[in-house]
Symmetry: C2
Subunit: 240 residues, 2 copies
């Protein structure tokens, strides 16, 4: 059975303007790879209703899972819940369980549970809440779409709540070989080897060190024995 | 006249697997913002011909400019030139000027100008070369699509070659206000202000400091006087 596929949708003007450097994409890439779920595509869109709806529809249709980050706070630019509701064709309402969670939280803090904070209890009908152990306001899963916060500490905690619920695949095995040779020197032999192993993914990543070109060669696949066999041939070819 | 729009397409399995953390998206976001070109969308796709072709077609049709990074080196996994050629419906051939540039470079280095290195001279018909002052192998522009290397130092040099050629817009003016108040406290007033200034973009970004919640409020727009006016009202509202 092939490994499940996934996409990520990062929502937020602050990433596109360069104000904030996204770190959630890199975090989930590693978390999904470790769980044997292949991250196939990422999109970043602005805080724009139509752009979010279009991306959620396209990505949730094309991949087994869609993870989103950003836009679920209390301010006017937090429009993710409404856009995801629209993408799935369901209403978005103040949900009783989320209202209870948040109401108790602000009561403990001695802060007013005002209309803005109540917005964070607006959840598309039929969704399942995602626990937020950091700051209480929940994410949610609707269909195959997992909606999470943009603040990295909260995003990471929500990923930790969601991932164990999903069916993973065989974790991919990765081996790499670091060579102090330029890509142009190894390309022919490496390409020929890659053609012999269509089930493995082989990539070549150049670097420079003290002005000398080097290359990291990476072999990745679900079958560890096959990865090792291909790596042994690569070492015999270049590392001698 | 509205500012030009742009998208970026990051090409590479290594980003999606988590092996490499992308930095080119953040770099170009800042460079475009400074030049008054609005980055509206980013996509990351794997080294897959059909995925690259589909993304290039969609993004070059929807935005004024498309910038790509990755997949233009000498190895078998470098398939961007062919995919971009296919997206624009043109042939990809070894081009004489690129062959001459690369041939002279490898002759100076005393390295063989072999078939793998000659692949880097394969350019879609009708494209204009983008200079690479770091490692010679050129990028190219075809239509509104600017194809650049993935290695950050090379990508950044190519952006510096390309951006001055493009018609920019009025640089966006950004002002921000840092408050030691949570988002839930400022959301109502901030949202009402944003509704009064439809030409400005107003965003709210929470943080914690020593366990206390704070919020950065950001106002951005092309009209500096309007940004200052709105910021003065925001300060009167919250910073008193």
């Amino acid at each position: 059975m092939p490994n499940p596929t996934a996409a990520m949708l990062v929502i937020g003007d602050e990433i596109l303007s360069g104000r904030t450097r996204d770190s959630n994409m890199h975090f989930i890439a590693n978390a999904l790879t470790a769980r044997g779920i292949g991250l196939s595509e990422v999109r970043v869109v602005s805080d724009d209703h139509d752009a979010i709806v279009a991306a959620v529809r396209a990505l949730s249709a094309q991949y087994d899972h869609l993870f989103t980050s950003g836009g679920i706070g209390p301010t006017h630019d937090d429009i993710t819940a409404d856009a995801v509701g629209a993408a799935f064709g369901v209403a978005v309402t103040h949900r009783a369980d989320a209202m209870a969670l948040l109401g108790a939280h602000y009561e403990r803090q001695g802060a007013e549970f005002n209309a803005a904070r109540q917005r964070m209890a607006r959840i598309p009908d039929g969704a399942v809440l995602i626990e937020n152990p950091v700051s209480v306001a929940p994410g949610f899963t609707i269909g195959n779409c997992h909606v999470m916060a943009g603040v990295p500490k909260v995003f990471e905690a929500m990923v930790a709540s969601v991932l164990p619920m999903l069916t993973g695949g065989a974790p991919l095995v990765t081996q790499s070989l670091r060579l102090m040779k330029g890509e142009g020197t190894i390309a022919e032999g490496f390409g020929a080897l890659a053609a012999e192993y269509p089930d493995l993914s082989m990539g070549s990543y150049p670097f420079t060190q003290d002005g000398v070109y080097g290359t990291n060669l990476v072999i990745r696949g679900a079958d560890g024995a096959q990865v090792s066999e291909a790596m042994a041939r690569l070492e015999a070819m270049f590392a001698a």
